[in-house]
């Protein structure tokens, strides 16, 4: 793979120094910020919610930073470069999802909770079981997502730096992991948020630069760009149908199962985003619900703009680089954006190409680092706040102990992430991301929506929807081609799959809602006089008593 990358017109070794120094500058700056922020982290509110001191714009940037992972930066650009319109289709789901978060989740959650999803559930229900459940689903989602990020990171780092040995690659993953642990444990939410902001600015800056350069090459005529992309993509021995390249069907249109799979994925993306723990905790870093709303608005603007630019990036790569080169560099197209940067900067032997390549690679590193830090923070917060402080210690832990537990679990989760990143390098991560979104959509979202808007919902219902949604999604994935019966599966040599789709959302999301409803109506109502729901409803809509 690495040798192939070097064949693909880019001799990365020359530019490795540049990439590494740019990346080091980023790391140094963010570490300084983190340490500064860490000095002012005194209590739990500082650690979990950055003291609730961020403005809407800052938080909007941070939300975007958390959301725009390496998968969406390099992955979507690559998918567009290889599959054209189908890759574009992917990014739309990621964006539309934010409306669910904006309209239904962000403000009520900010008003009613303090640090985690478990807070909102614990309002109306029996604390310990629902907090345990919320903690479990949070950690499951985070671990799957984290695994995908770390595995991706390992492969990506190797590609971008042209490292062929396992040792070098592993060292870098370990390095990335250690830096991430430092961000989270020293800086807490405040430090991590600043890392996200810096990263988001870098990412957007880099993308704008390349987008303008690409568009300039086609005289800002999008039609020309599309035409050139389709024409270039259909050339060569593994060229594709130019019509399908522009109207869809290359990736998902193979047969009725893949089509259904895409519908399933689309639903999971749209409904899952509002249940992703590292996104949810971002709503607590701002002082009021109104700021939470504004930060989501900013995020929608930034993310939307970013995805629009990835269209230019993806089609630009398809138009300017030979398809065979993209594939030989990385079969999934993940290196399309860096290759494009090299090409657009002047191509072979030019210093412009080298600098642009270095910039984009450094941005990609920063992206990995920041997203992993966000996920680690989310899962360690949930462990410390929901499970440790309120279940194990039954609410008797001091703030100091709770924050220490959060730091400890961040280290533990970081260590696991490093290990997985190093050793699970060959795992197919697409299934894991799908699983993370599906679990978020089928376990977390029903529970959040029911508890905010349905009076009759009770502890049994919450447990049923979380554990039910979680179990259905995990079991369906277990028996899908993600796990067995496919060359790219976790167990390629055995076959016990029977579920045809790779994404369980189509079944598991309705199942999650159904379980929550059934559990509630089949058990005794808890809140007979509606007093607790009254309080939750008034708080969530007016913001009364919010911290």
């Amino acid at each position: 793979m690495n040798a192939a990358f070097q064949l693909a017109a880019v001799d990365t070794t020359d530019h490795r120094t540049l990439i590494v120094s740019l990346f080091s500058v980023f790391v140094a700056i963010t570490l300084v910020i983190t340490v500064l922020a860490g000095r002012r982290t005194k209590d739990a509110t500082d650690y979990y919610a950055g003291g609730r001191s961020f403005t809407a714009f800052q938080n909007g940037l941070a939300v975007s930073g958390d959301y725009m992972s390496a998968a969406s930066f390099l992955g979507i650009a690559g998918a567009i470069a290889l599959f054209g319109y189908d890759g574009f289709l992917y990014s739309i789901g990621f964006l539309v999802a934010w409306l669910v978060a904006l309209l239904l989740v962000a403000e009520p959650l900010r008003n009613a909770g303090r640090f985690t999803m478990g807070d909102v559930l614990a309002y109306r229900m029996r604390q310990r079981p629902v907090r345990t459940a919320a903690g479990v689903s949070t950690i499951v989602v985070s671990i799957f997502y984290l695994l995908a990020q770390m595995v991706g990171a390992g492969a990506l780092v190797a590609l971008l730096l042209g490292i062929s040995g396992d040792t070098g690659k592993n060292l870098i993953v370990v390095f990335v992991g250690v830096i991430m642990i430092l961000y989270v444990t020293i800086g807490g939410m405040k430090g991590t948020t600043w890392v996200q902001i810096v990263k988001a600015l870098l990412l957007i800056g880099g993308t704008i630069l390349i987008t303008i350069l690409v568009l300039a090459k086609f005289h800002f005529n999008i039609s020309d760009l599309l035409g050139a992309a389709a024409a270039n993509a259909s050339e060569g021995k593994d060229g594709v149908d130019a019509g399908q390249f522009l109207s869809g069907g290359l990736q998902y249109g193979l047969n009725s199962t893949t089509k259904l799979d895409f519908v399933s994925l689309g639903i999971a993306l749209v409904l899952g985003t509002a249940g992703l723990p590292h996104i949810l905790i971002r709503f607590y870093t701002v002082p009021t619900a109104k700021t939470a709303r504004k930060s989501v608005l900013w995020a929608i603007g930034i993310i939307g703009g970013f995805y629009l630019m990835t269209i230019a990036l993806g089609f630009g790569a398809a138009a300017l680089i030979d398809r065979a080169d993209i594939i030989s560099s990385n079969a999934a197209g993940n290196t399309a954006a860096p290759l494009l940067a090299y090409e657009i900067g002047g191509g072979d032997g030019s210093s412009g190409g080298a600098i642009l390549l270095a910039v984009i690679s450094a941005v990609a590193f920063a992206t990995i680092l920041a997203v992993v830090a966000g996920l680690t923070l989310a899962s360690s917060s949930s462990f410390a706040h929901d499970i440790y402080a309120n279940v194990i210690r039954k609410g008797k832990a001091t703030e100091r102990e709770e924050v220490n537990a959060a730091r400890m679990s961040a280290i533990a989760i970081g260590a696991v992430a490093i290990l997985l990143g190093v050793f699970a390098g060959k795992l197919n991560v697409a299934g894991l991301v799908a699983l993370a979104f599906a679990v978020a959509a089928s376990a977390n979202l029903p529970t959040i929506l029911y508890s905010l808007f349905w009076k009759r919902f009770n502890t049994t219902g919450a447990l049923w929807s979380i554990y039910g949604g979680l179990t259905v999604s995990v079991v369906l994935v277990l028996f899908s081609k993600v796990v067995s019966g496919d060359p790219a599966a976790m167990f390629p040599d055995v076959d016990f799959h029977w579920f045809p789709l790779k994404n369980p959302g189509l079944i598991s999301i309705p199942a999650g809602f159904l379980f929550g409803w059934l559990g509630s109506i089949l058990s005794k109502p808890e809140d007979e006089d509606g007093k607790k729901f009254a309080e939750l409803e008034v708080r969530s809509l007016t913001g009364a008593g919010a911290h």
């Binding site: 739990a44 319109y85 574009f88 289709l89 739309i92 789901g93 964006l95 539309v96 934010w98 409306l99 669910v100 904006l102 309209l103 239904l104 640090f115 807070d119 614990a122 604390q127 907090r131 005529n221 999008i222 039609s223 020309d224 599309l226 035409g227 399908q244 522009l246 109207s247 869809g248 249109g253 089509k259 895409f262 519908v263 689309g266 639903i267 749209v270 709303r293 504004k294 608005l297 929608i300 603007g301 939307g304 402080a389 309120n390 609410g395 008797k396 006089d529 509606g530 007093k531 607790k532 009254a534 309080e535 409803e537 008034v538 708080r539 809509l541 007016t542 913001g543 009364a544 008593g545």
Partner: protein, 121 residues
Amino acid sequence: MSTAPPTPSPPGNGSYVRMQESEDFAELRRRFRTFAFPVTIGFTAWYLLYVLLSNYAGDFMAKKLFGNINVAFVLGLAQFLTTFLIAWWYARHANAKFDPEADRLRAVVEADVEHASEDAR
């Protein structure tokens, strides 16, 4: 730091119940729900329609409108556009119709709760 409210209702819960039963609050809730719920259903349906069209109506989507830009591309960009528009529309609605009322009721409730907890002391 016990974060969640204790299971027995705190003093002042009565004020929340009174507020929830008040007509002002019913109006506030109505304003929120009559906007958020239909719009959510609307954009989800619009997105699903788009996904289904991309999946199952290849010929329609491939129709070229001008230059190399086809229906599929336009509809995709329309998704972006509607997302931005809905977000903007919601922000306007919330700022104009929702926030002032919510702030007013919040002040009422908090004053009431304060009062109740003083009584409890």
